[in-house]
């Protein structure tokens, strides 16, 4: 429907103030709420992610787009069946123990949320035990996403993945990793299920892993 395209455009452009009204318009003209969410917002954020990947836009534009989507989702929420905003599932996100850096992780969280996940962000310097505890409190979690910024934090990332792998719920979840010094090679080495090199790819990867999970 035409007005869904308008919503998508406003999300892409990051027009947080105008998105709300556009979403209401779309609802009023009879558009299906789930379609507004998927085509007007999640797909729009995927386009934003693509543009970010090829350098057309940068971090600030990505952030304002994510913020605009959040505003749109607020208007949409009462019309959606419960849980459908996080319809792709739950994801636990953390920067591993020994590392305080979080900007990248925060961006990843936002992009994954925009891709239709419910993101539980445990913050920085998070010990493996806390992550495992969080999973046990949220046993429907599909993915655990871990971040490390310094090469010197990589051993901690390895240990965290190993600690999670030792739990019997390992087979029920997927583990994805990322961060400046991380490589696909390292991710494979430590037994992660996936690696992505930026926030946009992380969102794509999360969708893929959740689909397969």
């Amino acid at each position: 429907m035409g007005s869904i395209n308008e919503v998508a455009e406003l999300v892409e452009k990051g027009k947080a103030k105008l998105v709300g009204a556009a979403v209401q318009d779309a609802l009023d003209s009879g558009c299906d709420p789930t379609e507004i969410l998927n085509k007007g917002m999640i797909d729009a954020m995927a386009v934003v992610g693509e543009k970010f990947k090829n350098g057309e836009i940068f971090v600030p534009e990505m952030l304002v787009a994510a913020r605009a989507m959040k505003k749109g989702v607020e208007v949409l929420k009462p019309h959606l069946s419960s849980g459908s905003t996080g319809s792709n599932g739950k994801l636990i996100l953390a920067t591993v123990a020994g590392d305080l850096h979080d900007i990248g992780k925060n961006l990843v969280g936002m992009m994954i949320e925009s891709a239709g996940f419910e993101v539980i962000d445990l913050g920085v310097d998070v010990p493996a035990s806390k992550i495992i505890e969080c999973y046990k409190e949220n046993p429907d979690t599909k993915i655990i996403a871990l971040s490390a910024l310094l090469t010197t934090t990589m051993p901690s990332l390895k240990d965290t993945v190993a600690a999670i792998a030792a739990e019997d719920f390992r087979k029920d979840i997927k583990i994805m990793v990322g961060g400046a010094p991380i490589t696909q090679e390292f991710a494979d080495e430590i037994g992660a299920d996936g690696y992505s090199e930026d926030a946009a790819s992380a969102a794509t990867l999360a969708k893929k892993l959740a689909g397969a999970a």
Partner: protein, 574 residues
């Protein structure tokens, strides 16, 4: 076993099969540049092996390999001069005439005790605790046979040497930068600098930045990195002595400044605590040590002075800058930024001071930028755009082969001014490929690919400058100081000296309103290392200085992310 023949360097080395070419280069003592520490990520270790261009760090040696390292003996522009603040000459190293007279019967004082009394008298210093120098004490009996009149070379708490003829004594100040090391030889009698020597920090073969090197140390032990830098300092000491035509043994004091990681590695301290949250130093206080215990072969009794560190990422080098500028003595509110491989900054005046460290990052040092390079011959160091034409200069006027930090900032500033980069950093060059701006086409350049800037390069510059800009904003907030109240911006460090303030302000690296306040102060850290030797009051002031300054850990600041993101964009034009 495999054999690697390095054609250019005319060296050959045998290594076990599977050793990488990079490792072979290190073992052969070639000190290769390895910015990403051998991870295969940066592409700056390229060599021609048996005719094929490969990454040295990713290519294993087997049988016999002929390797062309492709390195021309490039001269790097190393910054040695700094702002000269007039400092009273009140050193901690003295030369005084003393008498070694025979003991009087009944006076049971040792030769040593009588010498100490003589030195106290001659120097008019309290000298309450004098460290025993057994070797010297044992020599006093024989020395007296040569005559009574001697000269003592001493500090306030140790007697280092006795000479029959009036001796010369020298001190040396060092700044151990992540990328470059500089040493200044000074005459102990009047404090004049009589020789300067510098070299690229050979720890570069273990990685370009402190994290890489810390990583190496944590994986392989700290010895390799420690002995590497100790050997380098010793080499510089010998070079300085040779230049001034003196004996290394005539050097009696050494002072060292460096960032906390350089400080720890030199001392042989494992940098584990520096690279794990919350990133604190293992040891940060000011130290007086024995130079010989740290691989320095000068006078056997020579003293080694290490200035104190402030935090994990604000080190003795920043302390050196504090000494060079003494912002803490002024009414004037000033901001000091040392843009080297890291970006430390200090804001304040005599009422309050705060400091933080930002990841200014490798963009200004050449890494992560496609045509990026350090300030070596052929680097484009300034760019201008006027009346529709682009002009540039290069280091040593050699044909352009890349962009160094100052050239990079100029280029981005000019592209932004010309409207080819928009406020959000989107590049539309109007050339064949919109996402690439070619400054020097291959036919005019000194290399095969020419010199150009990509969209991704612009993003790297945005990230680097936003970090510094955010640091400045947060320091101001911490102290409750507004932009208008800042009266001076000192730019220290290698990069800062060549950077064009107008360009820095145009891209928002520095607050655009404050362009007229910018003053480059050169190697302020090195100046501080010198001042520490020239004046003991200043040296001792460092203890107070580091304790009295507020440290801001940006990684723990809730506001950093928002401020950082805000600073990514380029400032609106007036």
């Amino acid at each position: 076993m495999g054999v690697v023949i390095f054609i250019r360097e005319q060296k050959q080395i045998e290594v076990p099969d599977g050793t990488t070419i990079l490792e072979a280069e290190i073992q052969a003592g070639l000190c290769p540049d390895a910015p990403c520490g051998g991870q295969g990520k940066c592409g700056k270790c390229l060599v021609k092996a048996n005719g094929e261009i490969v990454k040295a760090c990713q290519t294993p040696v087997h049988s016999e390999m002929k390797v062309d390292t492709l390195i021309s003996s490039q001269k790097h522009a190393i910054l040695t001069e700094g702002l000269n603040r007039p400092v009273a000459f009140k050193p901690g190293l003295f030369i005084h005439p003393v008498k070694l007279d025979k003991a009087i019967a009944g006076d049971n004082r040792s030769d040593w005790e009588r010498l100490v009394t003589e030195v106290r008298k001659a120097s008019d210093l309290e000298m309450t605790h004098v460290e025993p120098n057994l070797k010297l004490a044992a020599s006093l009996f024989d020395k007296r046979k040569e005559g009574e009149d001697w000269f003592a070379i001493h500090t306030r708490d140790s007697i280092l040497e006795l000479k029959k003829e009036k001796p010369k004594a020298y001190m040396t100040a060092f700044d151990i930068g992540t990328t470059t090391v500089v040493g200044y030889l000074m005459d102990a009698e009047n404090g004049t600098v009589c020789a300067i020597e510098s070299m690229m920090n050979p720890q570069a073969q273990y990685g370009a930045d402190v994290i890489m090197r810390a990583n190496y140390a944590l994986e392989h032990g700290v010895e390799a990195l420690s002995s590497c830098i100790q050997t380098a300092i010793d080499e510089l000491l010998h070079k300085l002595a040779k230049k001034k035509k003196i004996q290394p043994e005539e050097i009696y004091q050494v002072s060292i400044v460096g960032n906390t990681c350089m400080h720890h590695l030199f001392l042989g301290i494992s940098p584990g605590s520096l690279v794990h949250a919350p990133y604190n130093p293992a040891f940060s206080e000011r130290l007086t040590l024995k130079a010989k215990e740290y691989g320095l072969h000068i006078h056997p009794q020579a003293q080694l002075l290490m200035l104190p560190d402030i935090a994990g990422y604000v080190g003795a080098d920043t302390c050196g800058c504090l000494l060079a500028l003494r912002q803490d003595l002024k009414d004037e509110i000033s901001l000091m930024i040392d843009i080297g491989t890291n970006g430390e900054m200090v804001l304040g005046n005599k009422e309050k001071m705060a400091t933080c460290s930002t990841a200014a990052g490798p963009a200004f040092e050449g890494a992560k930028i496609e045509c990026g390079m350090r300030g070596a011959a052929g680097a484009v160091d300034h760019v201008a755009y006027e009346d529709g034409s682009w002009t540039y200069t290069t280091v040593d006027h050699q044909p352009a082969i890349g962009l160094c930090g100052s050239g990079l900032i100029d280029l981005v500033a000019q592209l932004y001014k010309a409207g080819l980069i928009d406020e959000m950093g989107h590049l539309e060059s109007g050339q064949e490929n919109d996402s690439i701006f070619v400054l020097v086409p291959p036919e005019k350049a000194g290399n095969e690919k020419g010199v150009y800037l990509t969209q991704k390069d612009v993003r790297e510059v945005q990230l680097a400058k936003a970090a510094i800009a955010a640091g400045i904003q947060l320091l101001m907030k911490e102290l409750g100081i507004t932009e208008k109240e800042i009266q001076k911006i000192y730019i220290a460090g290698a990069f800062g000296n060549y950077m064009n303030p107008a360009s820095a302000c145009a891209i928002g690296l520095l607050p655009p309103e404050l362009e007229h306040l910018v003053e480059p102060v050169g190697n302020a850290a090195g100046e501080g290392a010198k001042i520490a030797l020239l004046n003991t009051d200043e040296l001792e002031a460092t203890d107070r200085l580091v304790r009295g300054i507020r440290f801001l850990e940006l990684a723990a600041s809730a506001e950093f992310q928002d401020t950082f993101v805000d600073e990514l964009a380029f400032p609106e034009e007036e």
